[in-house]
């Protein structure tokens, strides 16, 4: 440690007189000031994410009364609450991204195609369609969101946009738990080849629609191409 360095201040008259000590010898911050998304595009992404979370929470709420399996009904309660919290924190980030104080409940679908995917996912209604209901959020939408959130966390500016990273990190942690729960339920429900085929067919149909519209941000194709 150099004896000449004084903290804080740049010029001699700004410097205080205390000597540097070990707390200042922290490892250097190697993060670069660069990120794929500017303020405006990150705000748009947050609105897109919020749209997905809000509608997922609403459709899960609608299904509770139409699902006969009691452990699924009760288990969904927690997923609903944590998905609502996800939408809430995404909304609370919007005013911080120059969207105005009233933007906390602003949700926006990336395009008409993604809104149509949400409609497709929410379609099943009859009580004998628990498999078709659960496949949408737990096999298709949530894994897709986790994938996009993780990519967003990696690609955004690690210092400037750290608040978005923090909130997405927490949402991903909870969604991973939701996915594990939902897929365990689906594994148990799909205990014959015919039922497994129903699950597979539903996954394939919804994945096609999701890829077709470019996913939650509408830019899935471009982002994948850029990565390649």
């Amino acid at each position: 440690m150099s004896e000449q360095r004084m903290y804080p201040g740049m010029s001699p008259d700004e410097k205080t007189t205390f000597a540097p000590y070990s707390a200042f010898d922290i490892p250097a911050d190697l993060r670069e000031l660069s990120g794929r998304y500017d303020v405006e595009s990150m705000a748009r992404r947050c609105r897109n994410f919020r749209y997905a979370e809000e509608w997922m929470m609403m459709m899960l709420g609608g299904w509770v009364a139409t699902i006969p399996e009691l452990p699924v009904k009760t288990g969904l309660g927690k997923v609903i609450w944590e998905t609502a919290q996800a939408a809430d924190v995404l909304g609370s980030r919007l005013p911080e991204l120059r969207c105005g104080k009233k933007a906390v409940d602003a949700s926006e679908s990336a395009n008409e195609g993604f809104a149509a995917v949400i409609q497709s996912i929410s379609e099943p209604e009859r009580p004998d369609l628990t498999i078709e209901k659960l496949v949408g959020p737990f096999d298709v939408l949530m894994p897709h969101l986790v994938d996009v959130y993780e990519r967003t966390m990696r690609e955004t500016d690690q210092i400037c946009d750290a608040p978005t990273i923090e909130l997405l990190d927490e949402i991903v942690r909870k969604h991973r738990r939701h996915i594990a729960w939902g897929q365990e339920v689906l594994d148990r429900l799909c205990d014959t080849d015919a039922l497994r085929e129903r699950r597979r067919a539903r996954v394939a149909k919804l994945n096609d629609e999701l890829i077709g519209c470019g996913g939650v941000t509408g830019t899935l194709g471009e982002e994948t191409a850029a990565l390649n």
Partner: protein, 323 residues
């Protein structure tokens, strides 16, 4: 998925047995007249018999006749009373299915009212989680007491009565009337658990009661918000809540009367945001039903008629076998 679900569409697994809601409706609107009550129950006897067949309530029906619910609802739960455990299980099972419907009501509000304010959705989402935990809690308490899911029939009267298509009325019915009733019932269950030294039940129900106070507060706040600047809407909403309160007073079984089986939990309700004025009104309207004396006399006549019918049937069968 469509908006607004009919109570008959509530999905259940194969353990559940559905009961016609007509019986609950009759019970909620009875006058203070023995003959009227006896006639109403006699009329519903085939339906009541059908709904209890194969359930733990069948034994109560056989012993007390179609009016067994009158005895159960109008006597405080007493561990030393005859059939005390069956009656406790019947109440516990009633609470359990009530929690299932409360979960469905809160969760359904998220889908039924997509344009509601975000804070409303957050409150309903939180309530859905709470009610989901309550279902789990009461399923475990049912097992703890030796009971099981589906041992008694389920009436979907709660969902039918409280789940209005109007958001203000929905929260008035579910969050203020029914969650308020839950405060009364749970305070009574805590007293029962204290009396029997059942610490597991006492602590679990105490936590559930704490959640219910929060849900009542949600209701109070959203009724105010949804009816803001619309006194006519507020009046209709309050009338709706009063009608649900009246229906769920079970002819005075839940009231402030001295002979009430479930007293109004005055202090809990004040903490939850009910005003003194509202509680005085509740005490008046819930106490308007038939007296305990009337109900017990009706129950006695119904039991005698039932046993007489059973005796006649039995001797006819013996006669037929002999010939």
């Amino acid at each position: 998925m469509k908006r607004f679900l009919h109570h008959e569409e509530l999905a259940r697994d194969s353990r559940f047995i559905r009961q016609d809601n007509a019986q609950s409706t009759v019970l909620a609107t009875m006058p203070d007249d023995v003959d009227t009550i006896v006639n109403a129950f006699e009329q519903f006897t085939p339906m009541i018999e059908e709904s209890v067949r194969g359930t733990a309530a069948e034994a109560l029906f056989e012993a007390y006749g179609p009016g067994f619910a009158l005895t159960i609802l109008n006597e405080p739960i007493d561990p030393d009373a005859p059939a005390g455990l069956t009656r406790l299980l019947l109440r516990m099972h009633g609470i359990f299915v009530g929690e299932v419907q409360a979960l469905e009501g809160a969760a359904r509000s998220l889908w039924d009212f997509p344009d509601a304010p975000w804070e409303f959705k957050m409150n309903m989402a939180r309530q859905a989680w709470d009610e989901g935990r309550h279902v789990q809690i009461f399923e475990k308490l049912l097992t703890h007491l030796g009971g099981a899911v589906g041992m008694f029939p389920e009436s979907t009267f709660l969902f039918e009565a409280a789940c209005s298509d109007d958001p203000a009325m929905r929260v008035a019915g579910v969050n203020r009337a029914l969650e308020g009733l839950a405060c009364d019932v749970f305070r009574d269950m805590i007293k029962y658990a204290d009396k029997t030294g059942d610490e597991k039940m006492r602590q679990a129900v105490d936590y559930v009661l704490a959640d219910e106070l929060t849900h009542v507060r949600f209701g109070s706040e959203w009724v105010r918000e949804f009816t803001k600047d619309d006194p006519e809407h507020l009046k209709r909403t309050q009338e709706y809540r009063r009608s649900v309160d009246k229906q769920f007073s079970f002819g005075g079984a839940r009231s402030d009367r001295e002979d009430a089986a479930i007293p109004i939990a005055w202090e809990d309700r004040i903490e939850a945001g009910f005003t003194e004025e509202e509680l005085k009104d509740l005490a008046t309207l819930s106490g308007e039903g038939p007296t305990k004396k009337t109900l017990l006399e009706a129950a006695r006549i119904l039991r005698e008629n039932h046993l007489e019918k059973r005796r006649t049937k039995e001797s006819a069968a013996t006669e037929e076998a002999r010939s």
